[in-house]
């Protein structure tokens, strides 16, 4: 596509959720195959050939991946090559079934056996579903579903990505483009964590041809197809130069005229704290998520175990904001044994778990205080999902009684943002979780694929709540940070600084671009950007966020 008239057709626009540019050939993630009605299926392969093709592909991927990921792929290849499975499917073919239906039935039998075995054996049922889809696609001659791994760099185009998909993502992925998903979808979070450019909610993305050369701008949300190989090489070279520039970025967060905005890290354990991250200028930890310690547990982790885990983080970094356990019916932990709810996002979660299981928070606060004492540090501790000043006061009292010096709360509920001044009278600091605050302000499910525009953190209503908190902080002389995904977005960092936010907490990979974005604006310029953003004028681009043809040209 070289003519100028065609340029209009070659652009798509979605929501840019992970900044950066990349270019390369499209590889599409195929949808699971649909079984044709029995007897009408045209088979390209026998049962044995189909299973062998699946096993061969997984073995090749295992060899490339190596390590723990390689072992998992190898185990999956062994399931595909399983003699019992093949014999069962071949017997069904002898009875007159076509290969696709025979495989479907044989997989179903084994799936049932795994589910019946229970526990972590039952969790392998999802692997079996993936293998079933691959084997059925293989015998029907359809493209292999699941995350592709063609063995060369590529732009991954998919309807949406699940956590299972993203776990198996190859290192050759240059950028992600999905037809669905929003700013807080798994795709977006994974992309930012890996520093991959990503565009979500991009209508028409699945219409991009396999192998087509495309450019992706994860900031503006533009996806341009029909590139020449020379253009691809130029964009890749520019992206590499930009990465080099950012990798040289050092020092504390400052606007161009020296107004400080602390740059902090979001971590899940001491393992996330690379010495080089702190060396590269992270000024501390703004969000230590403690859930990791509780995952997959049948009982509460003991006091000593908690002390050891917290002390490991405090030793690595003396300036840490710890969030107490953020679990609940939306993120279930078996040992909490919480009742099912029809509407978990609006139910018992975060600090509200304390209404049913107060001993969990008591143990955690005691362990945090002991870890602080043992390491000679003064961590800050905050509670998630606080809604009222009374909840904030009660939490602060318990935390201080346990021996915690600095106590704060997260602002994720609009009610708490509206009463930021009253809440700050009870605690030492606020940390705004923009993902949940957006979800609750707009009554829009964070994972809803069709509501991406409402979940954009640049929405003026959300920013006005941030401003309320920041100005309450200024009046009280207490810090107000942001630790949601918005904090790691270089387009939003100057706006948040202009609103009066005192720190931004993000994944390590997002930090250099945020630092450079702040350094590129004076405080006055940040405040002007903030005023524009609050008015909604700046936000007009989101009116067209649901895509359609965009401008041509990379």
């Amino acid at each position: 596509m070289t003519d100028v008239a065609g340029a209009v057709d070659r652009g798509l626009r979605g929501l840019g959720v992970s900044p950066g540019r990349a270019a390369g050939p499209v590889v599409r993630m195929a949808a699971p195959p649909v079984l044709p009605p029995p007897g009408t299926a045209h088979s390209e392969r026998t049962v044995g050939e189909g299973l062998a093709a699946v096993a061969d592909e997984l073995e090749a991927r295992a060899a490339r991946a190596g390590g723990a990921a390689g072992e998992i792929l190898e185990a999956q290849a062994m399931m595909a090559a399983d003699p019992m499975l093949r014999e069962a499917a071949e017997d069904l073919v002898k009875e007159g079934l076509d290969p696709a239906h025979a495989l479907d039935a044989a997989f179903a039998t084994h799936r049932e056996a795994l589910v019946a075995a229970g526990g972590y054996f039952a969790e392998r049922a999802a692997d079996l579903d993936d293998l079933r889809n691959r084997a059925v696609a293989a015998v029907l001659g359809l493209p292999m579903p699941g995350v592709p791994d063609p063995g060369h760099p590529f732009v991954l185009v998919a309807e949406d990505l699940s956590p299972a998909d993203t776990a198996g993502l190859s290192g050759d992925v240059l950028a992600l483009v999905t037809e669905k998903g929003g700013p807080t979808s798994h795709t977006a979070i994974l992309a930012r964590g890996r520093g991959l450019p990503a565009v979500v909610a991009c209508e028409g993305a699945l219409g991009l041809a396999e192998g087509a050369l495309v450019a992706v701008d994860g900031g503006s949300g533009e996806v341009v197809a029909g590139l020449e190989p020379g253009e691809v090489a130029r964009i890749q070279a520019e992206a590499a130069a930009e990465r080099t520039r950012l990798s040289g970025s050092r020092g504390p967060g400052r606007t161009a005229d020296g107004h400080p905005v602390k740059l902090l890290l979001n971590i899940g354990s001491a393992a996330d704290l690379e010495v080089e991250d702190l060396g590269a200028g992270a000024e501390g930890v703004g969000l230590f998520r403690t859930e990791l310690l509780y995952l997959g547990r049948r009982s509460t982790p003991g006091f000593d175990e908690q002390v050891a885990a917290y002390a490991a983080v405090f030793r690595a970094c003396p300036d840490v904001v710890v969030r107490t356990l953020d679990a609940g019916t939306d993120k279930p932990l078996p040992f909490l044994d919480l009742p099912d709810e029809p509407n978990p996002a609006l139910g018992i979660r975060g600090l509200r778990v304390d209404r049913l299981r107060p001993e969990v928070l008591d143990t955690q606060l005691a362990a945090l205080a002991e870890a602080a004492r043992a390491t000679g540090t003064e961590p800050s501790v905050m509670a998630p999902m606080v809604a009222t000043a009374a909840e904030a006061a009660a939490f602060a009292e318990r935390a201080r009684a346990a021996g915690i010096a600095r106590v704060g709360v997260m602002i994720e509920v609009p009610a708490a943002a509206l009463l930021a001044a009253e809440i700050l009278a009870e605690v030492d600091f606020l940390s705004i979780g923009t993902n949940d605050l957006g979800q609750y302000t707009f009554a829009a499910d964070r994972q809803h694929p069709g509501l991406a525009d409402l979940l954009d953190p640049a929405q003026p209503a959300l920013l006005r709540l941030v401003e309320l908190c920041a100005s309450a902080g200024r009046t009280a002389g207490k810090p107000v940070g942001v630790c949601g995904e918005a904090a790691g977005d270089p387009r939003l960092a100057p706006i948040l600084a202009g609103l009066g936010v005192t720190s931004l907490s993000m994944s390590a990979v997002a930090l250099p671009a945020v630092r450079e974005a702040l350094a590129g604006h004076t405080l006055e310029a940040c405040q002007e950007l903030a005023r524009e953003a609050l008015s909604g004028r700046r936000y007009q681009r989101s009116a067209v966020v649901t895509c359609g043809p965009g401008r041509g040209g990379p």
């Binding site: 072992e71 062994m78 003699p83 019992m84 795994l114 019946a116 526990g119």
Partner: protein, 92 residues
């Protein structure tokens, strides 16, 4: 029929890495060996899906079965020794 009964030594049970190492060894030995939990269904030791479907946890007693003879006995010894070890702990 020769048999051996042994308690599963791996922390994660006959799952993930331990299951993979056990099935690979059974395939490598090339002798028909079956495995069951107690008097339950016997599945081929060379079948990954069969072995996983046993749902054997750490400490579960499993029984290995092979035809009488020196080859079968040797295979049972090798596989029983493997099952008794904690395969989650090896080389990592």
């Amino acid at each position: 029929m020769a048999e051996r009964t042994v308690a599963v030594g791996s922390r994660s049970g006959l799952h993930a890495r331990p299951a993979k190492l056990f099935v690979q060894e059974a395939q490598r030995l090339g002798v028909a060996v079956k495995i069951s939990v107690g008097a339950g269904k016997q599945v081929p030791a060379a079948s990954m899906l069969g072995v996983l479907s046993l749902g054997a946890r750490q400490g579960t007693e499993v029984t290995l079965w092979a035809a009488d003879g020196p080859e079968g006995e040797a295979a049972l010894d090798a596989l029983a020794a493997l099952l008794g070890r904690d395969l989650d702990a090896s080389d990592d």
